[in-house]
Structure formats: C-alpha cells, structure tokens
C-alpha cells in the first residue's frame, strides 16, 4: 500500500516537473484556444460561431434528455430518469429556498432551475470528445466546429444579461418599486435614535451609497459572465495544452503509450469545475434576488436554526 502510494507520489512529481516546462512550450507554439470564437458560417447577417453550434446541439440534447427521462408527464412513482431529475431539483430547492426566501421562491425557482441545468449541461458537454478537436483547416488555421458554449464570452455575457433582467423583474415583482428604491437608495438609519438634522444629512450619504450600489449591480453582469467564461475557457485551454503536451511525447518510443493518459486527471478536474460553476452561477443569482426580496423570513430562519440546534 505504502509502496504504491510512494510510487504515485514520485510519478506525480516527475510528471509535474516535466509538465510545467512543456506546457509553457505548448503555449509558446500557440496551441492554446483562441480567446474569441471562430465563425464557421453565417446566416444572413448573423455569424454562426463554433460556440453557437455547440450551444444549439447541447440545448437540443438537454430538451430530448428531459423529455425522454420523463416520458411525457411526471408520475407519482418515479421511473429512473424522473428520480434522477427529481433528486437534482430537490437538492437545488433545499439549498436555494432559504437564500431566496419563501415569498419569492415560487416565482424564481423555474428560472434558477433553467440556469442550473443549462450551464451544467453546457459545461459537461464541453468535456465530450471531439469538442474543439473536430474541424477543418482553412487558410492555414484550424477552425473547430465545436467549442464549449461557455468558453465564448458572448454566451456567458448573454446569460448574465438575461440574469440581470430576470433579477430586475423578480425584484420588482416581489419588493415593488418602492421596496427596491429603499433597498438601494433608502435611508436605513433609525429615525428614533438620531436627530432629524443628522437623519436629513444621512439621506445624501445613502444616495451616494446607492449610486455606488448601482454600479456594483451593473458590475454583477461582468463578474458573473467573466467568472463562468474564465473557468470554462481556462479549463478548455488546460485540456488543450495537456493534449498538446501529450502529442509532444508521441515521438518517444515507449512513453507514447502513456501520452493518452496525461489529459485524463484534468478531465476530472474540469468535471468538478463544471458542476461547481453552474452551482455558483445559480447560487449567486439567487443571492442577488434574496438580497432584495428576502426580508420577512429572517426571524423564522433564526427560529428554525434554534429548533434544529445549529448552535449546539
């Protein structure tokens, strides 16, 4: 047992020692994925990139998968596919419900589910073999047909913009214009504790805070989109570089059999990243909604905590 462990350790260290310079070399040779998606063809004025093709393909797959796993209407005694979907839906519900608040949960949950499943399956789809490697050479440049949808900033920015509008819609529906105004610009000081002059002066302070808050809210679009893009794009780069590294080994007689194994651990890493990032996107969106909508549940939440003995 120990011997094997030690062997694994030594192997990892050697692998890392060989890998790091080679990754550098691969990236010097321009083996990385281009930052922008490549246009494969265009319909009228609309350029269709490899990322869009992937996005459509995976969307079709998602819809077909859900349709076939449900086999029409859902049933009380769940078939296997339905049980799987239910466990995902139930798990997400348990996590999201206390964050969003009981009041907003009913109308927000479908949107959150859509985000979770869409991003999750797009990310996982990016790990399929052939993504980024099937394509044509034209003009001395390799043009892949498929690229993970979220490895294109257009897709993640679109997701983030839709999320922003969804956020605004849900917040207006739950808290109303007045509630949202109070949440952003409103004077949160307690009138009974301070003099009216200070209260009036604080109005301007909170107005300034509200302006900063507005920019911060707009920044959420950028932060959401770049987080998802960075993770997926970085992962895609990592996999490509590992693949390029393994192709460097192909000329060495014995080691070349090992070369196929080199990208493998990173696929596990990317699998994890795909799940976590879809979860993070959904959770952040629900936190943003909960910041505005979730006020009434606080006392209940505390009571619940005491009831479950969280503090023990």
């Amino acid at each position: 047992m120990f011997a094997r462990n030690n062997f694994a350790r030594v192997a990892l260290v050697v692998l890392a020692a060989v890998c790091i310079p080679c990754i550098a070399q691969c990236s010097e040779h321009g083996e990385g994925v281009s930052a922008a998606a490549t246009v494969v063809f265009s319909i009228g004025q609309f350029p269709i990139t490899d990322s869009v093709i992937m996005s459509w393909a995976i969307s079709l797959l998602i819809i077909l998968a859900v349709k076939f796993s449900l086999r029409g209407e859902a049933q009380i005694i769940p078939p296997r596919g339905q049980a799987m979907i239910e466990s995902l839906v139930g798990g997400l519900r348990d996590i999201v419900e206390p964050v969003v608040g009981r009041k907003a949960f009913g109308i927000v949950f479908p949107c959150l589910l859509g985000y979770f499943f869409f991003i999750l399956l797009q990310n996982l789809g990016g790990l399929l073999p052939g993504v980024g490697s099937i394509g044509i050479y034209s003009g001395g440049e390799f043009k892949p047909f498929f690229r993970p949808a979220n490895a294109d900033l257009n897709a993640t920015l679109a997701l983030a913009v839709v999320a922003f509008f969804a956020w605004a819609y849900y917040c207006l529906r739950c808290a109303g214009v007045r509630g949202m105004y109070f949440e952003i610009f409103g004077n949160k000081a307690d009138k009974s504790e301070i003099s009216s002059f200070v209260y009036g002066a604080l109005f301007f302070v909170f107005l300034g805070v509200g302006l900063i808050e507005c920019i911060s809210i707009l920044c959420r679009i950028i932060s959401l989109s770049f987080r998802l893009f960075g993770n997926t794009f970085g992962g895609e780069n990592l996999l490509h570089n590992m693949y390029g590294f393994s192709s460097l080994l192909k000329n060495i007689p014995v080691v070349n059999y090992l070369s196929y194994l080199i990208p493998l651990p990173f696929y596990f890493l990317e699998f994890l990243v795909a799940i976590i990032q879809s979860f993070v996107f959904t959770l952040l969106l629900s936190v943003y909604i909960g910041l505005v909508c979730n006020h009434g549940d606080h006392e209940k939440e505390i009571l619940k905590k005491e009831e479950y003995g969280y503090n023990s």
């Binding site: 996005s55 998602i62 819809i63 859900v66 859509g114």
Partner: protein
C-alpha cells in the same frame, strides 16, 4: 466587493476587451434567445410537472404518515379500552359469583333457622298439648274419682249423713286426692 468593482469599472478599457473576446450583439442575441427558449421549454414540459408531482407526493406521504399515526393511536386506545372492559367484566363476574354464594349461604341459614323455629314451635305446641291433655285427663279423673267417692260414700252413708257432712267429705276427698 462593491468598491473593488467600481474601481475596476473605471480602469478597464472595454472596447479593447470587446474586440479581443469577439463580442458581437448578433451572437449575444442568439445565445440569450437560445437560453431563454431552453429554460422555458424545460420548465414548461419538464420541471413544472416534476415539481407538481413532488409536491403531490409529499402531501401524500404526509397524509399517509398522519393516517398511520392516527391508526396507531386508535389501536392503542382500542387496546386499552378492551383491557379495561375485560378487567371490569372480570370484576363483575367475581361480584356476581360472590353475591350468588352469599345469597345461597343466606338462604341456607334462613332455611335452617326457619326449620329450627318450626321444630321448636312444634315441640312447644306438643308439650303444651301434652300438658293440657294431662291436665284435662287429670281433671276428668279427679272429677270422676270424686264423684265415684261421693257416690260410694253416699251409697254407704246414704241415710246417716246430712247435706253438710256430704259436702265436707267430698271436699276432704278432693283434698286427699293428688
């Protein structure tokens, strides 16, 4: 977080970024429409019924658990009442047997008593009768013997005796007789 975001907003050259990452509003439109469509279809044909069924099932399970609880409670109540009834019935039966025994004993006693009284009465009556008859016989015999003595004495002393003497003799005879 907010401050760092605002700082970032001021410092970044966005137009260069847009070119670098190939941002195109056509693509943005395509991707956002795609997402909205997929999310809507997923909800409309997938998750809505799943969520409804999950709620339904939870309700059913809750109902079932409640029913089972009720049944358990009912069963316990039934068990306890049955035990109570059995106990009370046993006690009642014991009471009945005891009272029957008591009754029988009382009847026996009474019968004995009555019998004794009856026999005592009969004995008493018999004694009384005997005494009465003896007295009567004695009286009769006395009277007859007296008369007989008087008759004999009269026939003996018929001529010499006065009426006063006769009566004296009769009285004497009566005194002498036991």
């Amino acid at each position: 977080m907010a401050i760092s975001n605002v700082l970032m907003f001021g410092m970044v050259d966005f137009s260069g970024l847009l070119d670098k990452f190939g941002i195109d509003w056509h693509l943005l439109l395509i991707q956002s429409l795609n997402f909205v469509l997929v999310a809507f279809l997923l909800y409309r044909f997938g998750f809505r019924s799943v969520a409804r069924v999950m709620d339904e099932r939870r309700e059913k399970i809750e109902l079932g658990l409640k029913y089972a609880d009720d049944m358990k409670r009912e069963k316990a109540a039934f068990e306890s009442s049955r035990a109570q009834r059995a106990e009370s019935a046993r006690r009642e039966a014991e009471g009945i047997v005891k009272s029957a025994k008591d009754g029988a004993k009382a009847i026996l006693e009474q019968g004995k008593m009555e019998l004794q009284q009856q026999s005592a009465g009969m004995i008493l009556n018999a004694e009384k009768e005997i005494a009465r008859r003896r007295k009567k016989i004695l009286g009769d015999a006395k009277a007859e013997i007296g008369t007989l003595v008087v008759e004999v004495a009269k026939s003996v002393l018929a001529s010499q005796m006065t009426d006063r003497d006769r009566n004296n003799y009769a009285a004497m005879a009566e005194k002498m007789l036991p």
